[in-house]
């Protein structure tokens, strides 16, 4: 009869010594935690309209996910938090005054076309939030490029007029409203649009701290970087991915800047403006749609950076991060095939 000793002298454990890998819902929950400060800052900048937009997109993502699970007679996949991330990310990439009904449609399309159609979580080829955004970009080009000023007066007590448009109805124009609430002169353009169409450069510090016009959650590069360190520190995101996106952007922007400094912006401006930071840290790193091989991740990031700069400088749109990431998502299976690491002891 073996007798259990109350205080073992040597702490022996059997193998395996590696701890359990985090589960899907654990990772997703932690990404949501990392996103919360970005959301909070967005509400601080743009007021209750941004908050309402986040609630609506998240709710529409959750409801459509639940609906399709019910249709397919599957167990609900809501507890894994992936639909919450899709909803929050979607809201963060939309203009703060985006009509709520359009936000709901973006959520439904993102989940159904971007995720469920490919087989649900773990099978999506593209980042679902970006699929939803690409759809509304093509469907409602005016609404998605209508920007409103930060720190508007009464932003915590009244909605931006376009937010509360009736379903299927054209939202109210916000140009007049923006002029009355803005603290200083507001032109209704994002830093990228100012650069592209008027050749005006916004101060780098404004871009860094995020007090410029833009999508609800993309404005502050500093905050997004800080939030990104949390999943990286918990080993839930590969730091090489955002780093290589930024590197790709820097290389490509530097090339054009050296060619002609007068007409092309500095690499720092390219990195800090628009949705690049949000895209690099939270969008491109979608665990399903990005490659897993070490070199695949680097190539994937470089492609995103390169394409972003090319679309921004030579495309018809002012912002190119979304299409760059979607394109790289499509290329990621190919990148994985090309960059398979050599198996130790395998064929030479």
């Amino acid at each position: 009869m073996a007798k259990h000793h109350p205080h073992p002298v040597v702490d022996l454990r059997t193998s395996p010594y590696i701890r359990r890998a985090p589960s899907v819902d654990q990772i997703m929950r932690n990404v949501v935690y990392a996103l919360l400060p970005v959301c909070a800052f967005s509400v601080y900048l743009f007021g209750i309209s941004a908050l309402a937009l986040m609630l609506v997109t998240t709710l529409s993502c959750l409801l459509s996910e639940q609906f399709f699970c019910w249709m397919a007679k599957k167990k609900s996949t809501l507890p894994d938090f992936s639909a919450v991330i899709t909803g929050l990310l979607l809201a963060l990439t939309l203009p703060p005054g985006f009509p709520l009904w359009m936000g709901a449609i973006a959520g439904i399309v993102g989940i159904s076309l971007g995720k469920i159609l490919f087989g649900g979580i773990g099978c999506n080829v593209f980042n679902p939030a970006l699929v939803g955004r690409a759809f509304v970009q093509a469907a409602f080009p005016v609404a998605i490029s209508t920007w409103t000023p930060t720190f508007a007066a009464n932003r915590f007590s009244e909605f931006i007029p376009s937010t509360l448009a009736l379903p299927f109805m054209t939202p109210a124009a916000t140009a007049e409203w923006s002029k009355t609430v803005a603290i200083d002169g507001f032109t209704g353009a994002t830093p990228l649009a100012l650069m592209k169409f008027e050749g005006v450069m916004v101060r780098t510090s404004d871009l860094f701290f995020g007090t410029t016009a833009g999508s609800a959650g993309e404005t502050s590069a500093l905050l997004i970087l800080l939030c990104g360190t949390y999943p990286v520190a918990r080993n839930m995101m590969d730091w090489r991915l955002p780093a290589s996106v930024i590197l790709g952007t820097a290389i490509c922007a530097e090339f054009f800047y050296l060619l002609d400094p007068a007409s092309y912006p500095t690499p720092l401006f390219m990195i800090l403006s628009g949705g690049l930071m949000l895209g690099a840290v939270f969008m491109a790193s979608d665990m399903v749609a990005s490659p897993v091989t070490p070199w695949g991740i680097v190539l994937y990031g470089l492609i995103i950076g390169l394409l972003t700069v090319l679309i921004r400088l030579f495309g018809g749109l002012t912002e190119g991060v979304m299409y760059a990431i979607l394109f790289a998502n499509a290329a990621s299976p190919l990148l994985e095939t090309f960059t398979q690491p050599k198996v130790f002891g395998g064929d030479k």
Binding site: F135, A139, F168, M169, P171
Partner: protein, 225 residues
């Protein structure tokens, strides 16, 4: 021998209705997808394309069927293409003379009816093997089914993309059009949704049939025991 009697039945409505629903060229056989996706951005375009296709389909299939004993097997495809191209040229000029706006809206897709899989496919698979009356009836059904599918797509795309149907404003003037629906991605998305609906209906029907057969088998087993 139920199968033999069915195939020997010379004429029935089944030949006509097959193309409308059970063997719908777009929703079931996935033929002629190029015009389906390209010109269905409004109901009127869909109708015009459908009418042109019906004309070409019926006339060319009738001629192929009438000449089926004289066409050498080795050069049959070439012969079919020449016959089809004749009627397409006619349609091309007819539409041009009726409405130049419509002609410009449909663009190259009228000429492209020549290479429509549906028309060539029906000529080779049906008209070359069947007498002329059956062929005409079947082609008419197929053509109407094709038009039905085009109008299904065109209706949704025009309604969402412009808020109108056949050019009449349906929603209030404040309606926000979904620009994407008039663009090519809209065609793919709407076609996908319709295919989803039709497959779902078909699946439900077969699962019900299977359930009914199982119930009959079960009752027989009870009777025998």
């Amino acid at each position: 021998m139920p199968e033999a009697t069915r195939s020997e039945t010379p004429m029935n409505l089944e030949i006509f209705t097959a193309g409308l629903w059970r063997e719908n060229p777009v929703f079931v056989m996935m033929l002629g997808l190029c015009p389906t996706l390209a010109v269905t951005n409004s109901v009127i375009n869909s109708l015009a394309m459908g009418a042109a296709s019906i004309f070409v389909l019926v006339c060319s299939n009738a001629l192929v069927s009438a000449l089926r004993h004289f066409i050498p097997r080795q050069i049959r495809i070439t012969t079919y293409i020449i016959i089809i191209a004749t009627f397409v040229t006619m349609v091309d000029y007819i539409i041009q003379s009726i409405s130049l706006d419509l002609y410009n809206a449909l663009g190259a897709f009228i000429q492209l009816i020549v290479v429509n899989c549906l028309i060539l496919g029906r000529a080779d698979a049906y008209a070359a093997k069947n007498p002329i009356t059956r062929t005409v009836l079947s082609a008419l059904g197929m053509g109407l089914g094709f038009t039905f599918a085009l109008v299904c797509l065109g209706g949704v795309r025009e309604l969402l993309g412009a808020g109108s149907l056949l050019g009449f404003q349906i929603f209030s003037s404040n309606y926000q059009p979904w620009v994407v629906m008039l663009l090519p991605p809209g065609g793919f998305i709407v076609l996908g949704c319709w295919l989803l609906l039709f497959n779902w209906l078909k699946q439900r029907k077969t699962s019900r049939l299977i359930a009914a057969e199982e119930a009959i088998d079960h009752s027989r087993q009870i009777e025998t025991t």
